[in-house]
Amino acid sequence: MRAQFVLSEIGVGLRRNLTMTVAVIVSVALSLGLFGASLLMRDQVSTMKGYWYDKVNVSIFFCNKNDAETAGNCAKGAATQQQKDDIKAELSRLPIVQNVEYESSDQAYKHYKEQFGDTPVAGLVTPDQLPESFRVKLKDPTKFAVIKSAFSERPGVEQVQDQRDTVEPLFNLLNGMNIAALCVMGLMLVVALMLIVNTVRVSAFSRRRETGIMRLVGASSFYIQMPFILEAAIAGLLGALFACVLIGGGKYLLINNWLAKKIQVINFIGWDSVITVLPLVLLIGLLMPALAAFFALRKYLKV
């Protein structure tokens, strides 16, 4: 096998089908860019989940003396110390509970002030409007239903609230976007594959004289097919390189330059997760077109 010969064949082939090659490169770049982006998005969602689920609690709010009229569970007025102690004791016996913290009305008021500061709403709230609560941290945040069914009907409990409910819609949104990205990627991938197959067909047709002679003088099928397969692989690799640039640039512009400055409460993925995605993108960009070309050749190039 003579490398120089094969390389010159590839060069000729790529130049002869320049427009098709460019189309292959662009579609591979877009599909793999989306692929990498959706992998990173999944990474992002799982880091965020880890981060938030660590912070969120299940809150058991107790009846306040003002709640008697408004909340149905609190018809008997404020929760008694006995009721709170019972619940606390029961919670600490449950194996799924990691720890329980008590938050008094005053502490709740302080947190409230911290969050809303000097906004007009904050002025209207007084400490005794805010309920006392237990902040329950679970070993597994998904076991919320156990706590809810055990305590929501208890006397003195106003409601059991899972703070995950407030972050869940965000994750659902991100997951939805992820699935949408994957669908678009799938379509782009099909387009890229069809383009590759067509490019190979045109390429095989325009070189049928050469390949016919190669066949006659006894070149091995591997030797005849190699330039076509390498052509597709090189175009795919170029596309994958563009995809890497897109992913890296996207991460830099979107996350580092924009989102990270706007939103401090989320810890975003770092360059390390980008770097783990890139080799996969390059590998797929190299192998997928090569395989597509190989199967296209079985149909379009008689050996």
């Binding site: 004289r209 066949r215 006659l216 003088v217 006894g218 070149a219 099928s221």
Partner: protein
């Protein structure tokens, strides 16, 4: 060298077989003309020899190998021992004469030094010494066919298959080509040549096999063309 045992070939979606029950044997070093009108099965016969097609029935042996049992990946190996020449030359127009001949050696992975040495030798042999750097388009038909013969012969094949090699050439040039093929034959290479050229067959007085509607109707040593078309 070549043996056909009751070979028939029917192409898919066709009722009439292209070859019907053909049995023959060609010895090493023979020169054989294959004659017959268009559609008589000459091309199919040659395609079977090159294993571009497989026989529907019967066995084809070429160079001691049963082609039906030859696995696909071994076919190139077999073709390296068979040279082929066609009516339309089949040269690469964008390569020089030397490159065209060298191409046959490059694609089977011969070392560069050997190629550089062999190509001028073979071009000398076919009478094109010194025309290595010319483009095929600059050559006459006869010269182009000589390049094609050089390419077919550069690998020193055991068998040379020629499909109407003089079909596009004038009688005088054809004689030159036939002399060249005869010389190649004398080096020990078996030559099988399909032709419509009555004059040449009658002059050469070699073995003649005639196909008619897929049947072998005549096999005659030192034969003549023998039928009017």
């Amino acid at each position: 060298m070549i043996r056909f045992d009751n070979v028939s070939k029917t192409y898919p979606k066709q009722n009439r077989p292209a070859l019907r029950d053909v049995s023959l044997e060609i010895e090493r070093g023979e020169f054989v003309f294959l004659v017959g009108s268009s559609g008589s099965g000459k091309s199919t016969f040659l395609r079977l020899l090159l294993r571009e097609e497989r026989a529907s029935h019967g066995a084809v042996h070429v160079l001691g190998k049963d082609l039906a049992k030859l696995s696909n990946w071994k076919v190139p190996q077999m073709r390296r021992q068979v040279g082929t020449v066609f009516q339309d030359f089949r040269l690469l127009p964008n390569k020089t004469v030397g490159q065209n001949v060298a191409f046959a050696l490059e694609v089977i992975g011969r070392p560069r030094g050997q190629i550089r040495k062999t190509v001028p030798e073979v071009l000398d042999l076919v009478g094109l010494g010194g025309k290595e750097d010319r483009m095929p388009g600059e050559l006459s038909g006869g010269e182009q066919q000589r390049v094609a013969i050089a390419r077919a012969f550069v690998n020193r094949p055991m068998l040379l298959i020629a499909d109407e090699p003089t079909g596009n050439l004038d009688p005088q040039t054809s004689v030159g080509i036939m002399k060249l093929l005869d010389r190649i034959n004398r080096t020990g290479t078996t030559v099988v040549m399909a032709t419509h050229d009555q004059q040449i067959v009658d002059q050469m007085r070699k073995r003649v096999m005639e196909l008619e509607k897929g049947r072998l109707v005549r096999d005659q040593s030192r034969g003549v063309y023998g039928y009017q078309h």
